[in-house]
Symmetry: C3
């Protein structure tokens, strides 16, 4: 495998700091041929769910040789482990704090190891900046082709976020929660199109969407198809139901916040 592999980089470092530059330099000092692709550095500080959603939303689009480096690390310096996870879709380097939860929920893991082999680290290791001194260099070494077994011992119990599963309630309803509000004000929920299969297999059809004591009745396929006046819902590009509004922020209109309960309501076949 050639050494000019792609390393994506996702962090909460912001875009006005030396932190992202330092990590990029540390990667390139290990493998000058690595090709670094910025995903985002504007994850809100310490927001693991937002980071988990962001990497989930795009990892499948990259070639499977890609290494995804995720540095959102409120526990830096403590005893939390660092992980390297391999799946059929890519490699993931991240702290063991749940940030890979959504990927793990949708993807069979081939192997997860704990980052232990200190000879791959930048020295001295700052107790406040493992992105530069541990995660970045390890991503660089993986891009050079080292085996995961050289990095550390196998991990069978990675930390997972306790996200509520989408569940079918008695009243013809799928219940989930608001997973993310995007910059356009789209309200992206935890309910995926896949989750509706069991109900639609029984001939039931979607009738409406509920959020914050409000019922939304128009389902569309794409944004510009929606009403000019009222919010509407659709299946978004990551496969989740979302609520949107025409050239306005649906989140503001509805007063939606992350974590809020939402429901997709079905009707029985006629």
């Amino acid at each position: 495998m050639s050494e000019d592999r792609i390393i994506t980089f996702l962090s909460d470092f912001g875009t006005l700091e030396y932190y992202t530059g330092a990590v990029k330099g540390a990667i390139l000092s290990v493998n000058p041929s690595a090709r670094i692709i910025d995903l985002s550095h504007d994850i809100p500080s310490h927001d693991l769910l937002c980071a988990a959603f962001t990497i989930y939303g795009c990892y499948l689009n990259f070639p499977p040789s890609t290494i995804h480096l995720i540095v959102v690390d409120p526990g830096v310096g403590s005893k939390r482990r660092g992980l390297v996870m391999r799946t059929d879709s890519g490699f993931f380097v991240a702290p063991d704090n749940g940030v890979l939860s959504l990927v793990m929920a949708h993807e069979e893991t081939k192997r997860i190891v704990s980052i232990e082999a200190e000879h791959y680290f930048r020295k001295p290791v700052s107790p406040t900046f493992h992105g530069r001194d541990i995660f970045g260099p390890v991503a660089g070494w993986i891009s050079k082709g080292i085996e995961l077994s050289n990095i550390g011992s196998e991990v069978l119990d990675p930390v997972r976020m306790g996200l509520p599963a989408t569940k079918e309630s008695e009243s013809n309803c799928l219940e989930g929660f608001v997973l993310h509000i995007d910059k356009f004000g789209n309200i992206i929920t935890s309910i995926s199109e896949r989750d509706t299969k069991s109900l639609s297999d029984r001939g039931k059809t979607i009738q409406s969407f509920s959020i914050n004591n409000r019922e939304i009745n128009q389902q569309v396929r794409f944004y510009s198809e929606g009403s000019d006046k009222d919010p509407f819902f659709l299946v978004g590009s990551a496969g989740f139901f979302e609520v949107s509004a025409q050239k306005q922020s649906a989140a503001r209109i509805i007063g939606a916040q992350r974590g809020m309960k939402v429901g997709v309501h079905f009707q029985d076949p006629h």
Copy 2:
């Protein structure tokens, strides 16, 4: 032509979303050797004029083999076409919504085709995310050297924004409008240095600049040459007249807004 061609990427996706990452991944899945250069992802949502100005301001600086991918796409999913445009200065991949208007106004187009060949798309095509599923992959394929004629049929009537042309009014004045306000507060207008040629050929010289009922008298060549106290005007780096102020926002001082009328006033030769 080698496959490590440059693809620039301009969007209104913001920097905190999976959207830019997904597009980058989709490009690299088609051509892993493509080199992606971020232009900006902070175009205000759906702001076609801002995107048109941004790509206009920098496309000429890139090598002519460069592919410029522009995804500002309020009409995603609807019947609006997607375009690939070729000029002597580069390739442009964008929705057919006017976002290429300023480039077209300054550059002879060699060929424009409509994006039709679905075998170049990522499947399934999400009706909400053509950046990832159509425009990105098509940019990737162009970077691998496919011919435009393989992508779709020729387009002779691309959408153009109805931007008011700079015009000479009777009173020794060139009239234009505010095209963009930049992060330094510089007020960039639609009047280019080239537009003054006809008047200066007749021996007339620039006397003042008018905006928002205010007259600006000092013309300078560069920012630090300007007065410490009052706004001044100059020809900016994209060739347009702009109003600026010393270490302050000229836009705030003057109360300028995009679209506002402006004038360059001339005096007759002595």
Copy 3:
């Protein structure tokens, strides 16, 4: 030396402008194989100290063949010189306005030249955009291996910022100032761990930290080790003392501002 060298790019251009794209294009038009790494473009407009701190914080992490391009240039168009500086750790291309001060303070310079050789410039040179027309192209030419002596004459008196040195006051105290406040609200000071050597060699130990009439008593090694209630101090990843708070902005709690005096207080050996 191969031509696919790394050029880092730091500016105050913001992320919504054509300016960064234009510079990138100008570099790639000189050397299409150069690999551009964004450090930050969100330096506050004209903020030389912030830029000086940002490049200082990360240049050492890059391979020594790296070229660091820094365009924060309030004096563009005036007679201020442009510089290329070479050290054992890299090449630096920047206006001669003090933005390299922190690097110079910590690194022996091998050679500094003034940018004079106009045949390396993009023509015509806009008096408002030397980043695109001078600094970017020169960085591109350096990445192709030209000698510094071809660029211009030697500079022995580069502009340096007049930053107050850390000094030992009579009362067992090291005095410095707030150098930077980062996005997490960490207060990064000008006092480095190295500065404490003379006092700790005499057996003195650190007792507390003072800032804005407030005494901070808890010293930790990493953020998550700190108190949940009160701010604490530690040596950060760039080697400077910093004040931090658990999942909050220490700067907001303390009312810290850049430039504010700070002190590290020592006690005599028992």
